[in-house]
């Protein structure tokens, strides 16, 4: 787990990409990790069903914030219907190394919120699907 905290993770944690809030978003959602209180809010702006831009805000551990930050880069330009289909693996591909089971919820929080925004209601936990 100590190997997890690689430079690029810490970089995303300290300099989160697409961080902030839009005045107006086409779809949005937020949730918190009931286990630890980490919070993520995601907003999407769409063009014809495609993600034109994205912002996230929140607070929490390096894992939740870095995963969310990386995800925002992943989804730019994706079709909203594809965002709704994103799987656990998309996050794991981003973060690049094994996450202990106890931290999986942290890693999946951003994805859950993103998928919730895409489907318009609270999505299942990607690690429990």
């Amino acid at each position: 787990m100590d190997d997890f905290y690689r430079d690029y993770i810490l970089d995303h944690y300290r300099n989160p990409r697409n961080f902030g809030t839009f005045e107006r978003a086409d779809v949005e959602a937020e949730d918190l990790n009931p286990l630890c209180g980490d919070e993520i809010h995601m907003q999407l702006q769409l063009d014809d069903g495609v993600v034109r831009d994205v912002r996230f805000s929140g607070k929490g551990c390096a894992i939740s914030q870095a995963s969310a930050s990386m995800l925002t880069e992943t989804v730019k330009g994706m079709k909203l219907s594809d965002v709704a289909q994103l799987s656990k693996q998309a996050v794991l591909d981003n973060v690049g190394i094994g996450i202990s089971p106890t931290r999986m919820k942290c890693a999946m929080l951003g994805l859950r919120v993103l998928k919730s925004a895409a489907i318009g209601r609270l999505a299942a936990w990607p690690d429990e699907e």
């Binding site: 810490l10 630890c36 209180g37 919070e39 607070k59 929490g60 551990c61 390096a62 931290r103």
Partner: protein, 422 residues
């Protein structure tokens, strides 16, 4: 420094402490990375000595049987041991056995008060006084009771160190039927000034229900002397097994309360139409109890009593003093220590954050060194929000912890600093 030096000498070669550690099988097992287990999460749940585990095995291998109604030999022994455990637990907190109701945990005990006593006594307009420190288990049941009864909640404030502010206590007590508060904060370790609050609550006509989840394991207790009306505690936080706890209630209160759970074993006579209930404590114990765990809980409090609760308190006080001193050395590098800094006012719990390392990340890195600390909101989300903390790391101590454990924790903090320095 001299005090700490003395502590180290005394404890490092303290035979008693070594003997205690040897009583806990889990502490002899290295982690998957081959590290010594440094268990600093006893506020979440304590480890169990061999005698407690053996009590479970003995019950299941020698005299497992349902109680109270069995005529045969093993049923008689099971009944006897179950009731003897009640006597032990009663004696441990200074109560009489008929004032001890078996429950699963502190949470169930508090819900029992809310559903049985609360439904009977609270009316629209009544106030319930809590404190800002309360664990969710001593907050949410009262929120729901307030919703059901029309009563409202008030909160005794705490200062920025988590110490109770009593300035307006009498004002807050005005119109109050019930005061519910934790004996010890699980997040900050603050010991509540019960000797002050209880008599003033009584003078104002309120009863006092104490959430003793963090009190009973750590402090010498005499509920009669304290004059608490209810006192709730969990076995698993005081060397006992999971699944068993106890509610102390003053006899007169219990006698007047309606049943909460109903079913087998709490009745005197049942007809299809109606039922006459047993006297307390059995009135509140429906269905087959957690026989094995109750018996093992009795063994756990016996173990604590043999250590001596004043020894337990002094041991934890000394560890806390040492930990505060060692952690203070990290303050220039961004370590923030929360809660009262005075070891005499806290009970073996220290919450902190370290620089920009989120508590969860810190806990994960410490885990790789075999160190178990808790990270998060510690079931006190409103307190965290009030204080402006999104999460804290928490180290908590118990009878088997040593100054070396704190040294290992500090080495872990060094490692975390290195990892996050990248």
């Amino acid at each position: 420094m001299i005090r700490t030096g003395t502590l180290l000498e005394r404890d490092r070669d303290n035979e008693k402490l070594q003997r205690i550690i040897a009583d806990f099988p889990i502490l002899a097992r290295p982690t998957s990375r081959g590290k010594r287990l440094v268990y600093l999460d006893s506020a979440a749940t304590s480890q169990k000595p061999r005698c407690v585990i053996d009590a479970l095995v003995q019950y299941y291998e020698q005299y497992n049987a349902n109680i109270h109604r069995g005529v045969y030999e093993i049923a008689a022994r099971a009944t006897d041991e179950y009731e003897r455990a009640r006597v032990k637990v009663a004696r441990f907190v200074g109560a009489s056995p008929s004032e001890i109701v078996w429950v699963r945990n502190t949470t169930e005990a508090i819900n029992l008060i809310a559903y049985s006593w609360g439904a009977q006594h609270l009316r629209r307009g009544d106030a319930i006084l809590l404190t800002e420190l309360e664990h969710h288990s001593d907050l949410v049941p009262w929120q729901l009771l307030a919703e059901r009864s029309g009563a409202h909640l008030r909160f005794l404030p705490v200062d920025e160190r988590g110490v109770h502010v009593l300035d307006d206590l009498d004002g807050l007590l005005d119109g109050c039927k019930l005061v519910a508060l934790g004996h010890v904060s699980n997040t900050l370790g603050t010991v509540a000034p019960l000797e002050t609050i209880i008599p003033r609550a009584h003078a104002a006509g309120a009863i006092v229900a104490v959430d003793g989840a963090q009190g009973a394991p750590h402090l010498s207790l005499d509920v009669h002397a304290l004059d608490a009306d209810f006192y709730a505690f969990s076995g698993h936080k005081m060397l006992g097994p999971t699944g068993i706890g106890a509610l102390y209630g003053k006899k007169a209160l219990l006698d007047a309360m309606p049943p909460f759970f109903s079913g087998g074993d709490m009745i005197r006579r049942v007809r299809y139409e109606n039922t006459i209930f047993s006297d307390p404590p059995r009135r509140f114990e429906a269905g087959t109890g957690n026989i094995a765990d109750a018996i093992a809980f009795g063994v756990a409090v016996e173990y604590l009593q043999n250590l001596g609760m004043s020894w337990v308190r002094e041991h934890e006080r000394a560890l806390t003093a040492y930990a505060l001193e060692r952690l203070a050395a990290f303050e220039p590098r961004g370590l923030a220590i929360y809660g009262p800094r005075d070891p005499d006012r806290i009970s073996g719990v220290i919450s902190f954050n370290f620089a920009d390392i989120h508590a969860h990340d810190l806990a994960s890195i410490l885990d790789t060194e075999g160190i178990c600390v808790r990270a998060g909101h510690h079931c006190t989300m409103p307190l965290m929000a009030k204080m402006g903390w999104s999460a804290t790391a928490r180290a908590s101590f118990y009878v088997y912890n040593t100054p070396e454990d704190i040294d290992v924790l500090c080495a872990g903090l060094e490692k975390a600093a290195t990892v996050f320095a990248r």
